[in-house]
């Protein structure tokens, strides 16, 4: 705190030092993009400059070294293909610019070129980054640049300059907001170049479900997607996002099959159960477009297959956004079909399960009741849920899980249930994807993470079609989990998690409304404003409030900190007297002024209290309170 105070009290440095600081701020983000030769060049240059070794000898050394650093940095890129890429030029320019800045620093010249360099470097960096971090950094840099420019004109300490700069930004805020909303945009798509390092591939499932040692999960907190529900929010047990559908049991794993020849069955949806939502999907380098069970429309640039899985036309290598509608209650209609693989089962494996399932098969009940019987059987086996299951016999995986190890997680439950269903004659398939939890929800915003990856089963029931079953819910106890498996979900809502979730929500809102704001959003917003009177009123009130708060904050920042407690306590009275036409003269003491004002308000007591407080050795809170009360009465 003392150091901060000291920092805030520092006086205006020389203009060259301010420029140096601006240069450091502008070069900093470039360092993350530079290749190692250039970074080494910068480090060595910085050391030499700090040590003030800038003689001719060092200048020659730095000039040569810098040239080599640039040549080495771009050594792999000297070909015709790269010459057609804008990013190559931008990168080359930024390297050359930094090189030139360093040389100028060694020469000790502060010319117009070096003065403009911070702005040029910042301009170049925008070609690389378009993340929230960059947004925050860019605003910080702009604030710092403005601060330094103001400081160059103000011979005062840092604290006062910060106040002035903050006041500038506070007044500027409403203008920025209004311009951001209404400034006309054209819908150019972002070019493919740009820094992609902000988003690394995330995946919770890869289209194959492993039962062996590969199945051991390393639960990650990485966000797979962010969902915003626009009309209503589904229940916790309805947050299933479809990824891939697996039919083929290949002993140690379940795989997808080709269902191109099968047409999507017609479905009927209950209107009330339709859910509108928007998804922000992070790059997975796969093609799955995750949709809430059961999707009704296909998002843009994707195709829906028989399994009601939406697949993107190209791998998802950057953040994408899509709108979707899903139905929570649905019914298949018309002629229903299923692939033959949905009934494939190897009767030479899992003899103990076959024995039990044959008994269920022979019962004279519907398929739905049989499925229920299987679930009841699972429950009687007292299976435990654990993300660290014991190894199982892959040749007899169902037997091994249901009768021997009795410990597993969603994949073991799903696999065993799918096989059991096929053994009783019900076509089955495993759906992998994500089962989100409401504990990861703020308002209507939901985060889906890698650790939400899940597998469940769908059974093909006569006259009904494919229906979802959650065999993991049959677990008797939980040994270790991070999954959101329906009723077994453990509430781990710590403060940290809540803070993190809220942070993610803010980040999502910034992404959604700031970084991804485009022509279509602008048009939609303006249309809504023009068509919806209440919305227009809300927007106008919001803007008015923003302007008023900016002005209020500006005035607040302008107000001086009270250093004289006695004077500050009687300030309201002085203000009141001023309104009545009695103004304190600059040379007038408080005593004289209060004496003069005695004709309007009796101020003798106030004067006594004021002087007692003013000239007492220590602060007497009781006296201050008394003075405050007196001033209040006079007011």
């Amino acid at each position: 705190m003392r150091y901060l105070q000291k920092l805030l009290n520092i006086n205006r440095p020389h203009k060259d030092r301010l420029l140096d600081f601006a240069l450091i701020l502008a070069i900093l983000p470039h360092i993350f993009l530079f290749k190692s030769p250039m970074i080494i060049f910068l480090i060595i240059s910085a050391i030499l400059l700090v040590k003030n070794k800038t003689t001719d000898k060092y200048q020659y050394f730095i000039t040569t070294f810098g040239l080599f650093a640039i040549i080495l940095s771009f050594f792999d890129n000297y070909n015709f293909e790269n010459l057609s890429k804008m990013i190559f030029f931008v990168s080359l320019v930024s390297n050359l610019l930094v090189y030139a800045v360093v040389l100028q620093k060694f020469k000790g010249e502060y010319n117009a070129y070096i003065k403009m360099s911070p702005a040029l470097l910042m301009l170049l960096i925008f070609f690389y980054y378009s993340s929230i971090t960059m947004l925050i950094y860019a605003i910080f840099v702009l604030f710092s640049f403005v601060l330094m420019t103001v400081w160059a004109n103000m011979d005062t300490n840092l604290s006062a300059v910060i106040k002035v700069t903050t006041r500038l930004f506070v007044l500027a805020l409403p203008i920025v907001v209004i311009l951001f909303i209404i400034f006309p945009r054209i819908s150019f798509q972002k070019t493919d170049f740009g820094f992609k390092g902000d988003y690394i591939a995330t995946t919770g499932h890869d289209g194959t479900m492993y039962l062996g040692s590969e199945a051991l999960l390393v639960p990650s907190e990485k966000v797979v997607m962010e969902v915003e529900f626009t009309n209503k929010i589904p229940q916790n047990n309805q947050l299933y996002f479809r990824g891939s559908v697996l039919y083929k049991d290949s002993i140690s794993q379940w795989q997808q099959i080709d269902t191109k020849n099968l047409k999507i069955s017609k479905r009927k949806f209950e209107k009330d159960s339709l859910i509108d939502y928007k998804v922000l999907l992070y790059p997975s380098y796969q093609r799955w477009i995750y949709l809430l069970d059961l999707p009704t429309i296909t998002p843009l640039k994707s195709k829906m297959n028989y399994d009601l899985i939406a697949l993107s036309t190209k791998p998802i290598d950057e953040i994408i956004r899509y709108k979707a509608i899903s139905a929570l209650n649905y019914k298949y209609i018309g002629k229903l079909k299923y692939p033959s693989e949905a009934l494939e089962v190897d009767r030479d494996r899992n003899p103990r399960t076959i024995k039990i399932m044959d008994k269920i098969k022979n019962l004279n009940i519907t398929d739905k009741q049989k499925a229920q019987k299987i679930l009841e059987f699972f429950q009687t086996q007292k299976l435990s849920y654990s993300l660290k299951p014991k190894p199982i016999d892959l040749n007899n995986s169902t037997d091994s899980f249901l009768f021997d190890s009795k410990v597993g997680y969603c994949v073991h439950f799903a696999s065993s249930f799918a096989i059991s269903s096929r053994l009783v004659g019900i076509p089955s398939r495993i759906v992998t994807g994500f089962k989100a939890s409401k504990s990861n929800m703020v308002e209507n915003y939901l985060i889906v993470r890698e650790l939400d990856a899940h597998a469940w089963v769908e059974l093909f029931l006569d006259d009904i079609g494919w229906q979802r079953f959650e065999p993991t819910n049959t677990a008797y106890q939980i040994l270790s989990t991070v999954d959101n498996i329906g009723d077994l979900n453990i509430d781990s809502n710590s403060i940290f998690k809540t803070i993190n979730l809220n942070f993610m929500y803010i980040k999502y809102l910034i992404n959604n409304w700031i970084l991804e704001y485009n022509r279509s959003k602008q048009k939609a917003l303006l249309k809504e404003i023009l068509e919806n009177g209440i919305f227009m009123a809300k927007i106008l009130i919001a803007i008015a409030l923003l302007i008023l708060s900016s002005i209020a904050l500006y005035i607040l920042l302008q107000r001086k900190k009270c250093t004289d407690i006695a004077l500050c306590t009687i300030a309201p009275l002085i203000k009141k007297l001023k309104k009545k036409g009695l103004v304190r003269k600059p040379y007038e003491s408080i005593e004289e002024f209060l004496k003069r004002s005695n004709n309007i308000i009796k101020t003798k007591k106030i004067s006594n209290l004021y002087h007692t407080i003013k000239y007492s050795q220590k602060i007497d809170k009781r006296m201050i309170k008394k003075l405050e009360d007196e001033v209040k009465i006079k007011k």
């Binding site: 403005v146 420019t149 004109n153 103000m154 311009l179 972002k190 001086k560």
Partner: protein
Amino acid sequence: MRYLKIFIQISNTIITKPTKFFIFVVISLFVLFFQAYMHNFNIVFIIMFSIFAVSTASSWIGRLNLFYLKFSFVSSDRFFANKISTYRILVENSKDAISYSITCANDTDSKSIPILNDYQREIISLEYKYPKRGEYKIPKLKISSLFPLPHELFYKYEKLDNMIMVFANPIGKSIFSTKLYNQNIRGEYDDFDGIRRFKDGENLSLIHWASYAKNQQLMSKEFIFKEQEHIFKFDIKSMNGDYESRLSQLTLWVLECEKAKFDFTIDLGYEILDSKKGDIYEILTKIAKY
């Protein structure tokens, strides 16, 4: 309504002029605009809007920085034609916020005030040169500032109604080198006689500061002289040269007599000025107005 009135008043009073940094701002906005439009970079849009908005906000803060400054004339040294002299201006910040980086200037001189706290007053001295004798208005003051951002220069003109008497240029032969000079004549300050209104051009050491503190009016201390026996007698008609050079000569002699505490009379033809009857300021004024 009141605020609208102030707003219009501020707009009318404070004049702005773009500086070379304004070109830099315009170019920045232009480049950012193209960069933002090329790729719909919202970060660039935000920076572009921020630069525009901060520049606009700066315009208003800059105007407010100067608007509430009040100026009044305090005093001046003696002004002589074609000679640089100094006058003093009281600058008062009449708002409850600090004003920064103020420059007050006339045609020949400028003074900077880095900070002027809320309701603070500061006296600045400015030099000026009037080419001819006579009574003149105080030169128009130009108050300017580049605060907070230097892309715009804010300035306003302050016209003060106070008059300054510019005496004739004191040039010619010294009284000590003429026959008129007599080694025996002397006069010196004796007892304090009282106070009277301060006259422009008087010695600042004569100011009675206690009166200024009390009534905000400059008063001068008056003394009784002793041993004033000899009187110089100047006659404008009997002097050589044109009238301007005669007046310059007279002014020089008056100043020398004042310094040496000699009494004198000046015959202007239509009026006789007596140093015993009128003070030096009045005598110099009458010569200046001749």
